[in-house]
Symmetry: D2
Subunit: 164 residues, 4 copies
Amino acid sequence: MLILTTGGTIDKIYFDATSKYEIGEPTIPHIFKEAGVTVPYQLVSLLQKDSLEMTDEDRALLHKHCSETAESQILITHGTDTICETAEYLQDIPHKTIVLTGALAPARFRETDAIFNIGTALGAVQSKTHGVYVAMSGHIFPAGSVRKNREAQCFEPITPLPLA
Amino acid sequence: MLILTTGGTIDKIYFDATSKYEIGEPTIPHIFKEAGVTVPYQLVSLLQKDSLEMTDEDRALLHKHCSETAESQILITHGTDTICETAEYLQDIPHKTIVLTGALAPARFRETDAIFNIGTALGAVQSKTHGVYVAMSGHIFPAGSVRKNREAQCFEPITPLPLA
Amino acid sequence: MLILTTGGTIDKIYFDATSKYEIGEPTIPHIFKEAGVTVPYQLVSLLQKDSLEMTDEDRALLHKHCSETAESQILITHGTDTICETAEYLQDIPHKTIVLTGALAPARFRETDAIFNIGTALGAVQSKTHGVYVAMSGHIFPAGSVRKNREAQCFEPITPLPLA
Amino acid sequence: MLILTTGGTIDKIYFDATSKYEIGEPTIPHIFKEAGVTVPYQLVSLLQKDSLEMTDEDRALLHKHCSETAESQILITHGTDTICETAEYLQDIPHKTIVLTGALAPARFRETDAIFNIGTALGAVQSKTHGVYVAMSGHIFPAGSVRKNREAQCFEPITPLPLA
């Protein structure tokens, strides 16, 4: 399994020295250790960005890594603001199972969705045959069928437009 | 989705009044709330037992519930000592995806595998087509192919016996 | 400062191998590390008992350690069921500040009074001039004036009996 | 007891909607509830500021509140960057015990000094006779004798200058 981290809320930590929150080391190894995960994986910390700052170049880099790896199972952590856009961008990659997830609250918080979401993504990436998915709000959404509802702070299916 | 809880370490709480640890209310609703899960589900608290105390009658009851429900996705929380046996017991149920999970440390602990494991099971139960699985140690093991390694405190594939 | 640990709920951990809760290593060093405590101290793990099992011999041992140490500030962790009795037993030790505390939920729990109570006791033991105190429920009760209310799960002042 | 909150890291929360960390509601009621604190208190949320932004006007407001209250025990939560300066500013208030504390990591974090520090301050404010103190790093420092060591991320006594 290949794990790619790109930044986002999930990896945010707090620096007292500057009173700032910045993206820290990937939190996945800590989460896996606490959960006793024995699945072998390779982790690449590709980017450290808020997802609103992700550029087309960044997405091209991510696409390249997903396409070129020999691994068929890829788990990606990503900021939640543009995770749905990135999922769509990767949608044309064949023969692989790619699951993106993130968090609304940093993994270092006492109350967080990060640990659960990583679990959901790990369960899905090993179970889906092929395709690109977003694992958020407990759902496994196919890429292109999901959006973030910022007011309700959850992810929901895109409602099909009414026919004319 | 149908969620059946049977007890086990995952739901253990501590009663100061008696200085005892007992199986409490199912922890899943709390975990789902914190993780912002919006997947609809029905929860049935079927048993409150340590899994070493599970009887054939208990397993028959569980089998009956899994067989008779109209739901095709079933998530079961179960004590880890006999979770593999129970998974095998349910293996003949057709047309359903059944994922069993549990925890080595109670969900109420600060360090626990419970939240992650529930996440993994939820990801798998929505992604596997049919069959019975045990979601532990980050893996999605097919029923009949997994055992608990008590010394190493993890779950591992059953090694096939060497041919004579 | 001398810290004596005697067991009790505060230090209880869970062993999956036996599905039992037992008294583990003293939790104070972990709590101090997380809180960034730089106060020098010597820790002696004197007993590992539920406080209902504390004998007169155990209390005599504790009394001896408190009396003989050169330290004038002593913090004791103790099971909550008989912490008030032990505080009274130590009340005749002169020239020292002794603060006993414990917890209603183990320190390893996600929700626990252990961390806060150790903090309260550490604040009190460095601030009171002399005497024996029980730090529970946010109060610093003088020994002999406090009891555990098991129904309400808190510590309260002993109400003086009405005069006949 | 009077509790005054002024902001600082201890009360910082994260808003996913803006990907920003801001000062939220005072965390003390949550901490007290979890710890089972039964001490009666009045809480006034006086300011919501990073302590580097505290002005002389802010400190005058704090001074006025401490001077005019009928309560003799006052606990103040404060950002750690200028907590020592504020403590000195309050030093001339007579007949009261004032304890300031804060945190290097927000109370909402899984690993934080906030809960412990509030405990230490609560223990000290009920135990010291009179004066102004800073409760940090497990110590109860008298105002005017302490500074923050930003590199070491702890509070330490001010070393007296060597004589010429």
